[in-house]
Symmetry: C2
Subunit: 248 residues, 2 copies
DNA sequence: CGGGACATTGAACAGTTTCAAAGCGCGTGG
DNA sequence: CCACGCGCTTTGAAACTGTTCAATGTCCCG
């Protein structure tokens, strides 16, 4: 099967090394409705001065950088990844509009964040975040809940990597993406990331991703109008493939 | 490489279905030293009435069970796993003496816990745990830190599953186990779990685990005095194999 | 219209799985 | 106390999925 004999065959990230040093902002937290999710809660702190933009393939922060801010993605898609000395890459996660990143992991970033597309982010100073957690029990509960959810999703991904074959992995990925973007109904799914990104996320190669997509297309499970769009023609078939990895 | 074509070939868990319903206990939390880790902190609550024992291969709780307690492992080793309808098994994690399990994930267990060896656990009622988190900021900090550490380790495991081949996975596993049990110095490592457990943890088959162990033995990296013991003869070689998956 | 990055397809190769059988250790019972 | 039996581990050989290498195709942007 598929372990990676990962040669060094990676896109030469057209990266610009964009260190980012936003100035800390001390806005006062307005009362948040108790029903709001953590990202919603945070977005109430909105302060135009803390917004930044990144171009496609730009590096937002590096693994090991001091984690002075919590980032809220306003638009676009970000990949959190890890690069090894011998050229392998592991994409731990894709972070999309509405999501947070950098909430956990202490004082240093545990991943490199790169813009998959053009990206807009809002920066929340960690100090402010910590202060809110200190004072506001409801906020704390949200943080905890957010963290648990996140943990669950990482564990689910471990399952995918540990137990599924190529087609199953792709199906799990597609379904999860569809759920996150709300595309499950319309059946139309935007793929912000390229095949290589998907491959590195699923522990496969680009070629295998292509072949798996082609296979699903031939089985009338998917339509592929273009490289960055999928139409889900048979969600049940996808769910069957994804198996336990789809919450359905 | 290695996806799992996981047929249904599993040990027929000699399991006894041991539901566990411990009575809630309301001990008062004694002040904990600020330096204590979360497990240490919890162990100060020790109450003999909340201790339970489980025999090898017994089920401690099932995925989906209500999570009324947080478990602290006193002795033995536990595997947290997930069983799929078609007979695949994913061992998410091994939990060992001193570790906690069931801290996160909300009101329902997200994994099945099975005793790898005979196991002694202490049960901490979740309500009590929550109360402490409510009142004690230092305790909260420990929970947070514990959770972050745990998240990191799951992400590291994702990397192992996504990017490494059989020998590398085994090396990563052995090194991590050695660190956790403090066997890095002595070089002598107790393997509480069987080959099948390791295989299901690393997304490989038993046979592949055996062959990888044999290979490392032939390369003088390991000695294998018996099935449940390893001697680390060349930690550097192991670290090289584990690559980025070893912290140092 | 041309160029380059990305996607797709093909063919050969390789690591892991699968199937099968033998080896070993350990507890139980004679 | 020894022998048998059962479960787990180990080894071998063949099959198979995914990788690697290579070439072609496609789309977008300048």
């Amino acid at each position: 099967m598929s372990v990676s004999f990962h040669a060094v065959r990676r896109q030469p990230a057209t990266g610009h090394s964009t260190a980012f040093h936003a100035t800390a902002v001390h806005s006062v937290a307005p009362p948040a409705p108790v029903t709001a999710s953590l990202p919603e809660h945070l977005s109430l702190l909105r302060d135009p001065g803390t917004i930044q933009r990144f171009a496609r393939n730009e590096t937002i922060f590096h693994e090991g950088d001091p984690a002075r801010h919590i980032l809220q993605i306003l638009s676009g898609t970000v990949r959190l990844c890890r690069h090894t000395p011998d050229g392998r890459r592991h994409v731990a996660e894709f972070v999309m509009a509405g999501d947070l990143c950098g909430v956990f992991g202490g004082t240093a970033q545990s991943f490199t964040a790169e813009a998959v597309t053009g990206v807009g982010v809002m920066l929340h100073p960690r100090a402010q975040f910590d202060r809110m957690a200190e004072c506001d029990p409801a906020f704390r509960a949200k943080v905890l809940s957010h963290l648990s959810t996140h943990l669950l999703s990482v564990q689910m991904h471990s399952f995918v990597l540990g137990c599924q074959n190529a087609k199953e992995r792709l199906a799990s990925f597609i379904l999860r993406l569809a759920e996150r973007t709300g595309a499950t109904r319309s059946g139309r799914l935007e793929l912000a990331m390229g095949r290589q990104d998907i491959a590195d996320h699923l522990g496969l190669t680009v070629e295998t991703i292509c072949r798996a997509i082609t296979a699903l297309r031939n089985e009338r499970v998917l339509d592929v109008p273009n490289t960055h769009q999928l139409v889900l023609r048979n969600v049940d078939a996808l769910s069957d493939l994804a198996g336990a990895a789809s919450l359905n």
